[in-house]
Protein backbone atom coordinates (compact mmCIF):
# COMPACT_ATOMS: atom_id res chain seq x y z
CA UNK A 1 0.00 0.00 0.00
CA UNK A 2 2.75 2.42 -0.89
CA UNK A 3 5.69 2.84 -3.21
CA UNK A 4 5.90 -0.15 -5.51
CA UNK A 5 8.95 0.89 -7.51
CA UNK A 6 11.48 3.72 -7.41
CA UNK A 7 13.50 4.59 -10.50
CA UNK A 8 16.29 7.15 -10.55
CA UNK A 9 16.48 8.46 -14.09
CA UNK A 10 18.26 11.79 -13.87
CA UNK A 11 19.34 14.56 -11.53
CA UNK A 12 16.02 16.31 -11.88
CA UNK A 13 12.81 15.56 -13.78
CA UNK A 14 10.50 18.32 -14.98
CA UNK A 15 7.55 16.18 -16.06
CA UNK A 16 6.80 12.66 -17.28
CA UNK A 17 4.23 10.57 -19.14
CA UNK A 18 3.64 6.85 -19.72
CA UNK A 19 3.00 4.99 -22.96
CA UNK A 20 -0.46 3.40 -23.42
CA UNK A 21 0.84 -0.07 -22.45
CA UNK A 22 2.93 1.43 -19.61
CA UNK A 23 6.10 -0.21 -20.88
CA UNK A 24 7.75 3.07 -21.77
CA UNK A 25 8.14 6.32 -19.90
CA UNK A 26 8.90 9.71 -21.45
CA UNK A 27 10.31 12.48 -19.31
CA UNK A 28 12.28 15.68 -19.51
CA UNK A 29 15.51 15.64 -17.45
CA UNK A 30 15.41 19.39 -16.86
CA UNK A 31 16.83 20.25 -20.29
CA UNK A 32 15.50 20.71 -23.80
CA UNK A 33 15.23 16.98 -24.55
CA UNK A 34 12.66 14.30 -23.98
CA UNK A 35 14.07 10.89 -23.05
CA UNK A 36 12.04 7.74 -23.62
CA UNK A 37 13.03 4.69 -21.60
CA UNK A 38 11.70 1.17 -21.97
CA UNK A 39 11.66 -1.50 -19.30
CA UNK A 40 13.29 -4.76 -20.33
CA UNK A 41 12.72 -7.18 -17.45
CA UNK A 42 14.39 -5.38 -14.56
CA UNK A 43 16.49 -2.86 -16.49
CA UNK A 44 15.53 0.44 -18.05
CA UNK A 45 17.08 1.21 -21.42
CA UNK A 46 17.10 4.58 -23.14
CA UNK A 47 15.25 4.03 -26.41
CA UNK A 48 14.83 7.50 -27.87
CA UNK A 49 15.95 11.05 -27.32
CA UNK A 50 13.61 13.63 -28.81
CA UNK A 51 15.52 16.86 -29.19
CA UNK A 52 13.59 19.41 -31.19
CA UNK A 53 12.99 21.99 -28.51
CA UNK A 54 15.42 24.80 -27.69
CA UNK A 55 14.50 25.26 -24.07
CA UNK A 56 13.24 23.23 -21.16
CA UNK A 57 10.34 20.93 -22.00
CA UNK A 58 7.82 21.67 -19.28
CA UNK A 59 4.86 19.56 -20.39
CA UNK A 60 4.54 16.08 -21.88
CA UNK A 61 1.36 14.11 -22.48
CA UNK A 62 1.01 10.71 -24.13
CA UNK A 63 -2.37 9.95 -25.65
CA UNK A 64 -3.59 6.50 -24.70
CA UNK A 65 -5.65 5.65 -27.77
CA UNK A 66 -3.81 7.32 -30.62
CA UNK A 67 -0.29 6.84 -29.15
CA UNK A 68 0.81 10.39 -29.86
CA UNK A 69 3.16 12.42 -27.69
CA UNK A 70 2.64 16.15 -27.31
CA UNK A 71 5.42 18.25 -25.84
CA UNK A 72 5.47 21.94 -24.98
CA UNK A 73 8.44 24.00 -24.00
CA UNK A 74 9.56 27.37 -22.72
CA UNK A 75 10.65 28.07 -26.30
CA UNK A 76 6.95 28.85 -27.04
CA UNK A 77 6.64 25.85 -29.35
CA UNK A 78 4.79 22.58 -29.27
CA UNK A 79 5.45 19.34 -31.16
CA UNK A 80 3.14 16.39 -31.71
CA UNK A 81 5.21 13.24 -32.10
CA UNK A 82 3.93 10.10 -33.83
CA UNK A 83 5.75 6.81 -33.81
CA UNK A 84 6.56 5.58 -37.31
CA UNK A 85 8.42 2.30 -37.08
CA UNK A 86 11.27 2.84 -34.64
CA UNK A 87 11.42 6.61 -35.05
CA UNK A 88 9.41 9.40 -33.49
CA UNK A 89 8.43 11.96 -36.12
CA UNK A 90 7.69 15.48 -34.90
CA UNK A 91 5.06 17.83 -36.27
CA UNK A 92 5.46 21.45 -35.28
CA UNK A 93 2.34 23.10 -33.90
CA UNK A 94 2.45 26.86 -34.22
CA UNK A 95 0.92 28.04 -30.96
CA UNK A 96 1.24 31.76 -31.70
CA UNK A 97 2.52 32.52 -28.21
CA UNK A 98 4.90 35.27 -27.23
CA UNK A 99 5.71 33.72 -23.85
CA UNK A 100 6.65 30.27 -22.59
CA UNK A 101 4.21 27.39 -22.71
CA UNK A 102 3.81 25.91 -19.22
CA UNK A 103 1.56 22.85 -19.34
CA UNK A 104 -0.25 20.60 -21.79
CA UNK A 105 -2.96 17.95 -21.72
CA UNK A 106 -4.72 15.84 -24.34
CA UNK A 107 -8.49 16.03 -24.25
CA UNK A 108 -10.39 12.84 -23.28
CA UNK A 109 -11.29 12.13 -26.93
CA UNK A 110 -7.70 13.01 -27.96
CA UNK A 111 -8.87 15.19 -30.83
CA UNK A 112 -7.70 18.37 -29.08
CA UNK A 113 -5.04 19.40 -26.63
CA UNK A 114 -4.83 22.44 -24.36
CA UNK A 115 -1.69 24.42 -23.58
CA UNK A 116 -1.38 26.90 -20.70
CA UNK A 117 1.17 29.66 -21.09
CA UNK A 118 2.93 32.56 -19.46
CA UNK A 119 1.25 34.82 -22.03
CA UNK A 120 -1.89 34.78 -19.84
CA UNK A 121 -3.63 32.71 -22.51
CA UNK A 122 -4.58 29.15 -23.34
CA UNK A 123 -4.15 27.50 -26.74
CA UNK A 124 -6.65 24.89 -27.84
CA UNK A 125 -5.14 22.90 -30.70
CA UNK A 126 -7.02 20.59 -33.03
CA UNK A 127 -6.11 18.65 -36.14
CA UNK A 128 -7.28 19.95 -39.50
CA UNK A 129 -7.50 16.99 -41.87
CA UNK A 130 -7.56 18.97 -45.15
CA UNK A 131 -4.29 20.78 -44.49
CA UNK A 132 -2.71 17.99 -42.44
CA UNK A 133 -1.66 20.24 -39.60
CA UNK A 134 -2.56 21.25 -36.06
CA UNK A 135 -4.34 24.58 -35.70
CA UNK A 136 -4.14 26.61 -32.51
CA UNK A 137 -7.03 28.73 -31.25
CA UNK A 138 -6.25 31.09 -28.39
CA UNK A 139 -8.34 32.09 -25.42
CA UNK A 140 -6.74 35.43 -24.58
CA UNK A 141 -9.20 37.07 -22.25
CA UNK A 142 -9.83 36.72 -18.51
CA UNK A 143 -6.48 35.47 -17.24
CA UNK A 144 -4.48 38.10 -15.38
CA UNK A 145 -1.32 36.07 -15.09
CA UNK A 146 0.41 32.85 -16.18
CA UNK A 147 -1.69 29.73 -16.56
CA UNK A 148 -0.05 27.02 -14.48
CA UNK A 149 -2.26 23.98 -15.10
CA UNK A 150 -5.12 22.90 -17.37
CA UNK A 151 -7.61 20.08 -16.92
CA UNK A 152 -10.19 18.68 -19.31
CA UNK A 153 -13.68 17.79 -18.17
CA UNK A 154 -14.78 14.27 -19.28
CA UNK A 155 -17.23 15.88 -21.75
CA UNK A 156 -14.27 17.00 -23.92
CA UNK A 157 -15.55 20.60 -24.03
CA UNK A 158 -15.08 22.22 -20.64
CA UNK A 159 -11.56 23.14 -19.58
CA UNK A 160 -10.50 24.21 -16.11
CA UNK A 161 -7.40 26.33 -15.63
CA UNK A 162 -5.41 27.56 -12.65
CA UNK A 163 -3.28 30.63 -12.74
CA UNK A 164 -0.73 32.56 -10.75
CA UNK A 165 -3.40 35.24 -10.27
CA UNK A 166 -4.88 32.83 -7.72
CA UNK A 167 -8.07 32.07 -9.62
CA UNK A 168 -9.43 28.89 -11.13
CA UNK A 169 -11.53 29.35 -14.24
CA UNK A 170 -13.66 27.05 -16.40
CA UNK A 171 -13.97 27.73 -20.12
CA UNK A 172 -15.85 26.20 -23.00
CA UNK A 173 -13.65 25.01 -25.84
CA UNK A 174 -16.35 24.03 -28.29
CA UNK A 175 -15.01 24.05 -31.82
CA UNK A 176 -17.39 23.73 -34.75
CA UNK A 177 -16.44 20.78 -36.88
CA UNK A 178 -14.41 19.11 -34.16
CA UNK A 179 -16.95 18.81 -31.34
CA UNK A 180 -20.39 17.47 -32.01
CA UNK A 181 -23.32 19.33 -30.49
CA UNK A 182 -24.50 17.39 -27.45
CA UNK A 183 -28.24 17.58 -27.04
CA UNK A 184 -28.04 18.03 -23.26
CA UNK A 185 -25.81 21.12 -23.07
CA UNK A 186 -27.53 24.46 -23.59
CA UNK A 187 -26.44 26.34 -26.69
CA UNK A 188 -25.39 29.40 -24.69
CA UNK A 189 -22.43 27.56 -23.15
CA UNK A 190 -21.13 26.33 -26.44
CA UNK A 191 -19.34 29.43 -27.65
CA UNK A 192 -15.56 28.93 -27.85
CA UNK A 193 -13.66 30.80 -25.14
CA UNK A 194 -16.75 31.50 -23.06
CA UNK A 195 -15.96 31.60 -19.35
CA UNK A 196 -18.37 29.38 -17.47
CA UNK A 197 -17.10 30.04 -13.95
CA UNK A 198 -14.39 31.84 -12.02
CA UNK A 199 -13.37 30.65 -8.55
CA UNK A 200 -11.75 33.15 -6.26
CA UNK A 201 -10.92 30.95 -3.29
CA UNK A 202 -7.17 31.30 -3.21
CA UNK A 203 -5.30 34.53 -2.51
CA UNK A 204 -2.08 32.93 -3.68
CA UNK A 205 -0.91 31.10 -6.80
CA UNK A 206 -3.08 28.17 -7.78
CA UNK A 207 -1.78 24.85 -9.12
CA UNK A 208 -2.83 21.36 -9.98
CA UNK A 209 -6.45 21.63 -11.09
CA UNK A 210 -8.28 18.35 -11.80
CA UNK A 211 -11.83 17.18 -12.45
CA UNK A 212 -13.19 14.09 -10.71
CA UNK A 213 -13.84 11.09 -13.01
CA UNK A 214 -17.56 11.88 -13.18
CA UNK A 215 -16.84 15.56 -13.83
CA UNK A 216 -18.95 16.75 -10.91
CA UNK A 217 -16.16 17.87 -8.57
CA UNK A 218 -13.28 20.24 -9.28
CA UNK A 219 -10.21 20.40 -7.06
CA UNK A 220 -7.16 22.63 -7.04
CA UNK A 221 -4.33 23.54 -4.68
CA UNK A 222 -3.35 26.97 -3.46
CA UNK A 223 0.23 27.94 -2.71
CA UNK A 224 -0.79 28.96 0.80
CA UNK A 225 -0.98 25.29 1.81
CA UNK A 226 -4.65 24.90 1.08
CA UNK A 227 -6.64 22.59 -1.12
CA UNK A 228 -10.05 23.55 -2.51
CA UNK A 229 -12.86 21.25 -3.58
CA UNK A 230 -15.77 22.64 -5.56
CA UNK A 231 -18.93 20.71 -6.21
CA UNK A 232 -21.22 21.34 -9.17
CA UNK A 233 -19.29 24.21 -10.74
CA UNK A 234 -21.69 24.87 -13.61
CA UNK A 235 -24.96 25.52 -11.83
CA UNK A 236 -24.65 25.79 -8.07
CA UNK A 237 -21.04 25.80 -6.88
CA UNK A 238 -20.33 24.90 -3.27
CA UNK A 239 -16.73 24.98 -2.10
CA UNK A 240 -14.70 23.42 0.68
CA UNK A 241 -11.27 24.75 1.53
CA UNK A 242 -9.01 22.60 3.65
CA UNK A 243 -5.93 24.16 5.24
CA UNK A 244 -2.95 21.80 5.18
CA UNK A 245 -0.65 21.25 8.10
CA UNK A 246 2.49 21.27 6.03
CA UNK A 247 3.93 22.57 2.80
CA UNK A 248 1.87 23.38 -0.32
CA UNK A 249 0.85 20.96 -3.05
CA UNK A 250 1.85 21.22 -6.70
CA UNK A 251 -0.32 18.62 -8.41
CA UNK A 252 -3.42 16.54 -7.74
CA UNK A 253 -5.02 13.34 -9.00
CA UNK A 254 -8.52 11.98 -8.48
CA UNK A 255 -8.42 8.23 -7.83
CA UNK A 256 -12.20 8.14 -7.65
CA UNK A 257 -14.97 10.63 -6.94
CA UNK A 258 -14.16 10.30 -3.25
CA UNK A 259 -10.37 10.00 -3.11
CA UNK A 260 -7.75 12.55 -4.15
CA UNK A 261 -3.95 12.29 -4.00
CA UNK A 262 -2.00 15.52 -3.64
CA UNK A 263 1.75 15.87 -4.18
CA UNK A 264 4.05 18.76 -3.51
CA UNK A 265 6.80 20.21 -1.40
CA UNK A 266 6.43 17.69 1.40
CA UNK A 267 7.91 15.04 -0.93
CA UNK A 268 5.19 12.71 0.26
CA UNK A 269 1.81 12.07 -1.43
CA UNK A 270 -1.19 13.04 0.69
CA UNK A 271 -4.55 11.28 0.53
CA UNK A 272 -7.80 13.21 0.90
CA UNK A 273 -11.13 11.42 1.15
CA UNK A 274 -14.72 12.52 1.10
CA UNK A 275 -17.22 10.92 3.44
CA UNK A 276 -20.80 10.02 2.54
CA UNK A 277 -22.01 13.58 2.94
CA UNK A 278 -19.36 14.86 0.56
CA UNK A 279 -17.20 16.44 3.24
CA UNK A 280 -13.51 16.27 2.33
CA UNK A 281 -10.69 15.83 4.82
CA UNK A 282 -7.04 14.89 4.94
CA UNK A 283 -6.61 11.19 5.62
CA UNK A 284 -2.91 10.40 5.67
CA UNK A 285 0.50 10.60 4.07
CA UNK A 286 1.18 7.75 1.71
CA UNK A 287 4.86 7.17 2.33
CA UNK A 288 5.99 5.33 5.44
CA UNK A 289 9.03 7.10 6.74
CA UNK A 290 11.77 5.22 8.60
CA UNK A 291 11.60 7.48 11.66
CA UNK A 292 8.40 7.62 13.73
CA UNK A 293 6.23 10.59 12.65
CA UNK A 294 6.31 12.57 15.90
CA UNK A 295 10.06 12.40 16.40
CA UNK A 296 10.84 13.19 12.77
CA UNK A 297 8.65 16.28 12.89
CA UNK A 298 10.40 17.44 16.03
CA UNK A 299 13.85 16.87 14.55
CA UNK A 300 12.94 18.57 11.25
CA UNK A 301 11.71 21.66 13.01
CA UNK A 302 14.49 21.88 15.54
CA UNK A 303 16.96 21.54 12.66
CA UNK A 304 15.43 24.52 10.94
CA UNK A 305 14.64 26.62 13.96
CA UNK A 306 17.44 25.52 16.28
CA UNK A 307 19.73 28.31 15.25
CA UNK A 308 16.92 30.86 15.38
CA UNK A 309 15.80 30.00 18.90
CA UNK A 310 19.36 29.49 20.08
CA UNK A 311 20.60 32.95 19.11
CA UNK A 312 18.51 34.70 21.74
CA UNK A 313 21.50 34.05 24.00
CA UNK A 314 23.68 36.16 21.68
CA UNK A 315 26.15 33.40 20.83
CA UNK A 316 28.12 34.23 17.67
CA UNK A 317 27.99 31.21 15.36
CA UNK A 318 30.38 30.59 12.53
CA UNK A 319 29.00 27.29 11.30
CA UNK A 320 27.28 27.20 7.93
CA UNK A 321 23.75 26.00 7.44
CA UNK A 322 23.60 22.23 7.11
CA UNK A 323 22.21 20.88 3.85
CA UNK A 324 18.85 19.21 4.32
CA UNK A 325 19.31 15.54 5.14
CA UNK A 326 17.38 12.90 3.18
CA UNK A 327 14.24 12.20 5.13
CA UNK A 328 13.98 8.48 4.42
CA UNK A 329 11.04 8.53 2.02
CA UNK A 330 10.75 7.54 -1.64
CA UNK A 331 11.17 11.09 -2.90
CA UNK A 332 13.91 13.36 -1.59
CA UNK A 333 12.81 16.58 -3.17
CA UNK A 334 9.63 18.31 -4.27
CA UNK A 335 7.21 16.18 -6.29
CA UNK A 336 6.01 18.18 -9.27
CA UNK A 337 4.05 15.74 -11.41
CA UNK A 338 1.55 12.95 -10.82
CA UNK A 339 0.30 10.70 -13.63
CA UNK A 340 -2.42 8.00 -13.49
CA UNK A 341 -1.63 4.40 -14.46
CA UNK A 342 -4.88 2.74 -15.43
CA UNK A 343 -5.11 -1.03 -15.21
CA UNK A 344 -7.09 -2.52 -18.09
CA UNK A 345 -10.65 -3.26 -17.05
CA UNK A 346 -10.54 -1.35 -13.76
CA UNK A 347 -13.00 1.45 -13.17
CA UNK A 348 -11.26 2.85 -10.11
CA UNK A 349 -7.68 4.01 -10.33
CA UNK A 350 -5.31 2.52 -7.81
CA UNK A 351 -1.91 2.97 -9.46
CA UNK A 352 -0.14 6.20 -10.24
CA UNK A 353 3.37 7.52 -10.66
CA UNK A 354 5.05 10.65 -9.39
CA UNK A 355 8.16 12.46 -10.54
CA UNK A 356 10.08 15.19 -8.85
CA UNK A 357 13.04 17.48 -8.64
CA UNK A 358 15.15 14.63 -7.24
CA UNK A 359 15.08 12.92 -10.65
CA UNK A 360 13.06 9.94 -9.48
CA UNK A 361 9.92 8.37 -10.90
CA UNK A 362 8.09 6.46 -8.19
CA UNK A 363 5.16 4.11 -8.83
CA UNK A 364 2.56 3.86 -6.09
CA UNK A 365 -0.22 1.38 -5.59
CA UNK A 366 -3.18 1.62 -3.21
CA UNK A 367 -6.20 -0.39 -2.20
CA UNK A 368 -9.21 1.85 -2.66
CA UNK A 369 -12.28 0.87 -0.67
CA UNK A 370 -15.38 1.07 -2.90
Amino acid sequence: MAAVAVHQFAECITCHAWSPDQSMVAFCPNNSEVHIYKLFGEKWEKMHVLSKHDQIVCGIDWSLKSNKLVTVSHDRNSYVWSQEGTEWVPTLVILRLNRAALCVQWSPKENKFAVGSGAKSICICYYEQENNWWVSKLIRKKHESSVTNVAWHPDNILLATTSTDGKCRVFSTYIKGVDSKESESSSSDLKFGEQIAQLDLSVTWAFGVRWSPSGSILAYAGHNSMIHFIDDVKSNPSAQSIPLRDLPLRDLLFLSDRVVVGVGFDCNPMIFTADDTGLWSFTKFLDQRKAAPSSSRGSQLSEAFGKLYGTSKQVPSNDTVEPSKPRGGAHENCITCIVPLWKRGNTTLCRFSTSGLDGKVVIWELDIPK
Binding site: V203, T204, H223, N224, S225, M226, P243, L244, R245, D246, L247, P248, R297, G298, L301, F305, L308, Y309, S312
Partner: protein, 136 residues
Protein backbone atom coordinates in the same frame (compact mmCIF):
# COMPACT_ATOMS: atom_id res chain seq x y z
CA UNK B 1 -19.00 50.95 -8.74
CA UNK B 2 -18.91 47.94 -6.49
CA UNK B 3 -15.51 48.85 -5.03
CA UNK B 4 -16.76 52.32 -4.15
CA UNK B 5 -19.74 50.91 -2.33
CA UNK B 6 -17.53 48.54 -0.39
CA UNK B 7 -15.29 51.46 0.60
CA UNK B 8 -18.18 53.52 1.89
CA UNK B 9 -19.49 50.59 3.86
CA UNK B 10 -16.07 50.14 5.42
CA UNK B 11 -15.92 53.83 6.36
CA UNK B 12 -19.16 53.60 8.29
CA UNK B 13 -18.01 50.45 10.04
CA UNK B 14 -14.67 51.87 11.15
CA UNK B 15 -16.17 53.60 14.15
CA UNK B 16 -18.04 50.41 14.99
CA UNK B 17 -14.79 48.45 14.78
CA UNK B 18 -12.90 50.88 17.04
CA UNK B 19 -15.69 50.75 19.60
CA UNK B 20 -15.63 46.97 19.54
CA UNK B 21 -11.86 46.96 20.09
CA UNK B 22 -12.20 49.31 23.08
CA UNK B 23 -14.86 46.98 24.44
CA UNK B 24 -12.53 44.01 23.98
CA UNK B 25 -9.73 45.89 25.73
CA UNK B 26 -11.78 46.39 28.87
CA UNK B 27 -12.87 42.75 28.87
CA UNK B 28 -9.24 41.65 28.53
CA UNK B 29 -8.11 43.78 31.47
CA UNK B 30 -10.79 42.14 33.59
CA UNK B 31 -9.77 38.65 32.51
CA UNK B 32 -6.09 39.36 33.21
CA UNK B 33 -6.93 40.57 36.70
CA UNK B 34 -8.71 37.25 37.18
CA UNK B 35 -5.51 35.46 36.05
CA UNK B 36 -7.11 34.07 32.89
CA UNK B 37 -4.49 34.91 30.27
CA UNK B 38 -5.68 32.24 27.78
CA UNK B 39 -9.25 33.56 27.74
CA UNK B 40 -7.83 37.05 27.38
CA UNK B 41 -5.90 35.99 24.29
CA UNK B 42 -8.95 34.30 22.79
CA UNK B 43 -10.99 37.45 23.33
CA UNK B 44 -8.26 39.54 21.74
CA UNK B 45 -8.07 37.32 18.65
CA UNK B 46 -11.83 36.94 18.25
CA UNK B 47 -13.61 39.23 15.88
CA UNK B 48 -10.46 40.86 14.53
CA UNK B 49 -11.46 42.86 11.49
CA UNK B 50 -8.96 41.45 9.02
CA UNK B 51 -10.46 42.73 5.80
CA UNK B 52 -10.36 46.41 6.73
CA UNK B 53 -7.52 48.42 5.25
CA UNK B 54 -7.61 51.10 7.92
CA UNK B 55 -4.32 51.32 9.81
CA UNK B 56 -5.87 52.75 12.98
CA UNK B 57 -8.12 49.71 13.39
CA UNK B 58 -5.26 47.35 12.79
CA UNK B 59 -2.99 49.15 15.25
CA UNK B 60 -5.74 49.33 17.85
CA UNK B 61 -6.37 45.62 17.56
CA UNK B 62 -2.64 44.91 17.67
CA UNK B 63 -2.26 46.82 20.93
CA UNK B 64 -5.01 44.70 22.47
CA UNK B 65 -3.53 41.44 21.20
CA UNK B 66 -0.05 42.51 22.29
CA UNK B 67 -1.30 43.09 25.84
CA UNK B 68 -2.78 39.58 25.95
CA UNK B 69 0.27 37.94 24.36
CA UNK B 70 2.72 39.52 26.82
CA UNK B 71 0.64 38.29 29.73
CA UNK B 72 1.01 34.64 28.77
CA UNK B 73 3.32 32.76 31.15
CA UNK B 74 2.49 29.14 30.36
CA UNK B 75 2.95 28.88 26.60
CA UNK B 76 2.41 25.11 26.35
CA UNK B 77 -0.83 25.29 28.27
CA UNK B 78 -2.06 28.17 26.17
CA UNK B 79 -1.35 26.41 22.87
CA UNK B 80 -3.06 23.20 23.95
CA UNK B 81 -6.21 25.01 25.03
CA UNK B 82 -6.42 27.27 21.96
CA UNK B 83 -8.94 26.25 19.27
CA UNK B 84 -7.38 25.42 15.88
CA UNK B 85 -9.38 28.18 14.19
CA UNK B 86 -7.18 30.74 15.96
CA UNK B 87 -3.84 29.28 14.84
CA UNK B 88 -3.57 31.20 11.58
CA UNK B 89 -4.51 34.54 13.03
CA UNK B 90 -2.26 34.13 16.08
CA UNK B 91 0.63 33.34 13.73
CA UNK B 92 -0.03 36.58 11.83
CA UNK B 93 0.08 38.59 15.05
CA UNK B 94 3.28 36.81 16.11
CA UNK B 95 4.95 37.98 12.93
CA UNK B 96 3.72 41.49 13.57
CA UNK B 97 5.23 41.24 17.02
CA UNK B 98 8.53 39.97 15.64
CA UNK B 99 8.56 42.87 13.22
CA UNK B 100 8.47 45.44 16.03
CA UNK B 101 12.10 44.74 17.01
CA UNK B 102 11.26 45.43 20.65
CA UNK B 103 13.30 42.98 22.75
CA UNK B 104 10.68 41.72 25.26
CA UNK B 105 7.99 41.49 22.58
CA UNK B 106 10.27 39.55 20.24
CA UNK B 107 11.38 37.17 22.98
CA UNK B 108 7.80 36.37 23.91
CA UNK B 109 6.65 36.06 20.30
CA UNK B 110 9.55 33.76 19.47
CA UNK B 111 8.75 31.56 22.45
CA UNK B 112 5.13 31.23 21.33
CA UNK B 113 6.15 30.83 17.65
CA UNK B 114 8.17 27.72 18.46
CA UNK B 115 5.30 26.02 20.24
CA UNK B 116 2.67 27.11 17.75
CA UNK B 117 4.69 25.80 14.80
CA UNK B 118 5.06 22.45 16.55
CA UNK B 119 1.32 22.31 17.03
CA UNK B 120 0.02 23.84 13.83
CA UNK B 121 2.72 22.92 11.34
CA UNK B 122 4.50 24.79 8.57
CA UNK B 123 1.25 25.33 6.68
CA UNK B 124 0.21 27.82 9.33
CA UNK B 125 3.33 29.90 8.70
CA UNK B 126 2.76 29.73 4.93
CA UNK B 127 -0.79 30.96 5.25
CA UNK B 128 0.18 33.86 7.48
CA UNK B 129 2.97 34.93 5.12
CA UNK B 130 1.08 34.55 1.84
CA UNK B 131 -2.25 36.07 2.81
CA UNK B 132 -2.27 39.62 1.48
CA UNK B 133 -6.03 40.08 1.78
CA UNK B 134 -6.62 39.34 5.46
CA UNK B 135 -3.78 41.22 7.14
CA UNK B 136 -3.03 42.28 10.67
Amino acid sequence: MEAEEEYLEAEENLEAIITRIEHKSRKIETLLKQSKPVDALKTALEGSALKTRDERCKSANWIVVHRAVMAIKDVDGMISSLDPEYYDILMKYLYRGLATGDRPTCDQCLRIHEKLTEKAGLGCILRSLSDTVNTV
